[in-house]
Subunit: 240 residues, 2 copies
């Protein structure tokens, strides 16, 4: 299951100068994250950070009376364990693996040392924190204003972009918690998409059939939370 060391699908790591990456390499271990793994619980200490390669981790906030609400999504464009980079020990959110796949793991102490020793890593991670704050804000807007159908389409597309597969495990029930709506609402929206041949699903498996069609059904928020790191440049280097 392990990728060749030469291929570094995680964007933050791939952006490092070769020499800096070589210094980090011994501290990284290749692991496979499995569907439904909980990397951190609400308010619990963070033992390791993860650089996803081709998997998806959801960041969830607690909401009384509800199971949870997804506020962010981390794939190969990011890192899980941001609080450590901000000098904090505990995760304010629950980190749940939604799409299994390979990731690189680093122990907390080694990560803190690596941050001090690698300017490139620090820059990459801070830039990602910036992007993630934007993503969380965008998700807040989306959850407030957009219809369930549009949000579902956005979620499916964002997931696909991060796991880099068109099919993934996901029940309507679970999705309803991510989107903060009822299970029935998800079923109705998903059913509509299936009739339009945009997706197909069955007992906990969903497959995207028509990527373009889904994009048309999604709200504009989708285009504002890209995986591609270059896409955040408009905020950095110009109003395009």
């Amino acid at each position: 299951m392990s990728k060749s060391p030469a291929a570094i699908p995680n964007i933050i790591l791939a952006a490092l100068p070769a020499r800096e990456f070589q210094k980090l390499r011994p501290a990284l271990s290749e692991v496979t994250l499995n569907f439904a793994d909980v990397l951190y619980e609400f308010g619990e200490p963070i033992a390791d950070v993860y650089f996803p390669s081709a998997c998806l981790v959801s960041l969830l906030t607690r909401a009384d009376g509800h199971v949870a609400l997804e506020v962010g999504m981390v794939g190969r464009e990011g890192i899980v364990g941001i609080p450590l980079a901000l000098g904090m020990q505990r995760s304010p959110v629950k980190a749940l693996v939604q799409g299994g796949g390979p990731a690189l793991r680093m122990k907390k102490t080694k990560f803190l040392a690596a941050l001090e020793g690698s300017v490139g890593l620090k820059r990459g991670i801070y830039a990602y924190i910036y992007a993630l704050m934007g993503q969380i804000s965008q998700t807040a807007v989306c959850n407030r204003f957009h219809l369930v159908e549009a949000r579902l389409a956005r979620w499916l597309l964002m997931t696909r972009d991060r796991v880099e597969r068109a099919e993934f495990r996901m029940t309507h029930e679970f999705l309803s918690h991510m989107l903060g709506v009822r299970r029935e609402g998800v079923s109705e929206a998903a059913s509509a998409f299936q009739h339009q041949h945009l997706i197909e699903y069955n007992r906990g498996k969903i497959r995207i059939l028509d990527h373009r069609g889904l994009e048309a059904a999604a709200c504009s928020c989708y285009h504002r939370s890209p995986v591609d790191k270059d896409a955040i440049k408009p905020w950095r280097s110009g109003p395009h």
Copy 2:
């Protein structure tokens, strides 16, 4: 209008060791932020950062078809201009002054230099970024699940805590943009509160009469976005 230099109502600055603060002092200028000032526009470069003393700055995200949506609120517990501390040049959000009052301003270049020269400042700001991410997430949950009345109560209380006054300028119209609802919805909720003698208002001025009563009307989110910096300790040092 300017406070005595000895009193540093901004919590991040007040937490600095005296020697570190003295080093920063020359780079800080005392300013008064006025109601409706726009500190940063969406995606625009950041020229200065601000340490609010007793004023309130709203962080707004764009939402097509709507004026804006508030995702965060900065008072004396924080700093406006976080992207600079993350190595980014532009603000992803609009920063709007909701409550006028004193603040300390620092030029971008001096701030970047200060960050390098003051470990305490860096720690304080990163801890604040952590807290702000929590606040944004909490606001996302709140906007999704809670009724307009509860959200209005929360907003009023959070504002009061930050401007440290019971009365402030604010029209229903403006509030509706902050909360992401219609103006009429705000009017109805505010009217209900006025009948209960929790607040009183008139033509763009709102005064809180019964703080406790408002707390009872607010959702639990209020207690999860405190001004008091110590309050974020549960995430840092233990599950209480």
